[in-house]
Symmetry: C2
Subunit: 371 residues, 2 copies
């Protein structure tokens, strides 16, 4: 078996996981690792701060990118493909924004471009969605794809206010110092773009969807919902409508016992709904070694398969203003909320707390989708 | 894109699902369908009763087998590979018994041999296990992989005795007229052989494992367990031990609320436990269209990938007599069963009802694994 040579961009938590996971593979070698500052790393690895030592090295077959961010990652990956290297990336920002463009480049240059780690870090979701679940038309894809918000919502449910819960998450390393991508819903929205793109063959710009984070969720509401037998999770959902795509990321209410409320730690859950039935995949959504398994899997798939797979023909479907599909009502929190309970009990109720509306004194406002 | 020509062996529920699913694919054509009796089918399809019209037809690229049974299916598939055709099969008997042999033949003749539909009919489990989940060492694979026994156990829990529950399952089409493979545990055991073989790279002969079906489960026990807050499912589990494989299929007790007890209809659930975390896949375990999606997915993977993937080197590990790892005790069913409750509450309790022992008057016998 021919040895495959890797150029690794980034050596954070995931990068170190990739190094560890590849240490078990004796026909895959890391030739060079791009870091920002060589003196920050105590490592026997062949470090460099010069991207050209990777992009211009004809020995390197696959560029593995775990730096994150659009700039300069996108340029590096586009250049790698143009120079005839395959690319494996964990970068959801780049894939959500430039996925079809990079796929087209990869086909043009007959290279592999895989990004399993970009959604549900350690879960086998994207390849399954591309090949298996897509064999019959998909109606909807939905999931809890952000572990940080799970942790914060759990803490708040136990009475902590939002700021205190966020600080606790940061202190324990579950949230970034700049948590905005997680708590504002954009991390989930980018992942949903990728899921919806592969499910519906129409790549969604999340900016056109309804994206609402958890920053306006109130601990008192969560506490009260819990007493009533409900819990809240930040849920991302895309639906195939006749000539559009419904796209929503929002805090959503579920009855206790629902799988979303049982997810522990960084576990994520993603459901795919099609004529053939419903498939759920639950697994580690983050973590160095877990995310690295997705990357190693992509590397092996590229090593053992022809890159010019059947080109997915992307359609350009409009994003539906899914807001219109929801009914808003307000209710006195001091009184029972039979409407919520009924909506949830009478089937696959889908209920959203719309915190963008002003909170009137003594009232919580809710919206739910008209059936 | 070159048209791919299919020879289909079998036109039962799954075969018809394959025909339907392939009708959406305009570069895949079914050239010939092998049936037992042409007059039994009202169909525009090119039917034949002569296997040579498929095996000797040089135009046919991929043989898709959905007949079931070892004989003559195994011979047909081996011959197809030797004649330079790729093979896709849903046949768990053939794969459990001859998997590594057929994989070796496929490599020798540089053809694809895929069998996603053989375990968890419509679930994306085997490819994920082969490529993704295997990127870090797997400790255990476990699941509810037989929907028929779920249905029977559910009926019995509501008070029906075993025979009546089985007859109801047969009347509704959930159980075969000869239900032995399902209720005796061998359907689950064959699927576990395949899962364990791909997870541990050691192919297990299920005959060497501990395989116990549900035929001796008593409705009274189920009813009593339910009152105590527990339910029973037929669970298949294989574990990687230092120099052996633990292999068990047995009725197992879980606290209510466990995912296994929530599986509806033909839904299956399979968990993979590794250093990278735990991944669960839940989806349709049977059904014509669901199983057909696995087959179409395999066809597409063969069309777009090189068949000579890295040969899995199978080790030959002994199967542990997992019976030894279980402690048996008997208890008066009229009194509470605190030991069961404690065992289940104190962690990943794993509890088996061993119905092979005589049921002493007034006693139920249990075994659970020593921690």
């Amino acid at each position: 078996m021919k040895t495959t040579h890797i150029g690794l961009l980034g050596l954070g938590t995931v990068g170190k996981g990739v190094v560890e996971a590849l240490s078990h593979q004796n026909t895959v070698v890391i030739d060079k690792v791009l870091v920002r500052d060589v003196t920050h790393h105590h490592s026997n690895l062949p470090l460099t701060t010069d991207i050209h030592e990777i992009l211009d090295n004809p020995d390197i077959d696959i560029v593995v990118e775990v730096m994150g961010g659009i700039d300069p990652a996108y340029e590096y990956l586009a250049t790698a493909l143009q120079k005839g290297k395959s690319v494996v990336t964990a970068n959801k920002e780049v894939v959500a924004r430039f996925g079809p463009k990079l796929m087209a480049m990869a086909r043009e240059h007959r290279q592999g471009f895989l990004f399993e780690a970009s959604v549900g870090g350690g879960m086998p979701i994207l390849d399954a969605l591309t090949w298996h679940l897509n064999a019959t038309p998909i109606h909807a894809v939905e999931g809890v794809v952000n572990g940080t918000t799970n942790f914060i919502l759990d803490q708040m449910e136990q009475g902590m206010d939002y700021q205190a819960a966020l600080q606790r998450a940061q202190a324990l390393g579950f949230a970034e110092q700049d948590p905005s991508a997680d708590v504002d819903g954009w991390d989930s929205a980018r992942k949903l773009s990728i899921l919806a793109g592969l499910a519906f063959h129409s790549w969604i710009d999340a900016e056109n969807g309804y994206v609402k984070g958890i920053t306006e969720v109130r601990a008192a509401h969560l506490h009260r919902l819990k007493e009533m037998g409900f819990g809240v999770r930040l849920v991302a959902r895309a639906e195939r409508h006749p000539s559009s795509i419904g796209f929503v990321v929002a805090p959503t209410v579920y009855p206790l016992g629902h799988r979303y409320l049982k997810l522990a730690g960084s576990q994520n859950a993603i459901g795919i709904f099609s004529d053939a039935g419903t498939t759920w995949i639950e697994g580690p959504g983050a973590g160095g070694l877990a995310t690295a398994t997705s990357i190693v899997s992509d590397i092996q798939r590229i090593r053992f398969s022809v890159p010019d797979r059947d080109p997915i023909q992307f359609e350009s479907l409009p994003v539906e203003n899914i807001n219109d599909a929801y009914l808003i009502f307000a209710e006195d929190p001091e009184r029972p909320l039979p409407v919520i309970a009924e909506a949830l009990k009478s089937g696959p109720g889908y209920l959203i707390l719309p915190y963008e509306l002003p909170h009137e004194e003594g009232f919580v406002q809710y919206r739910y989708r008209a059936k």
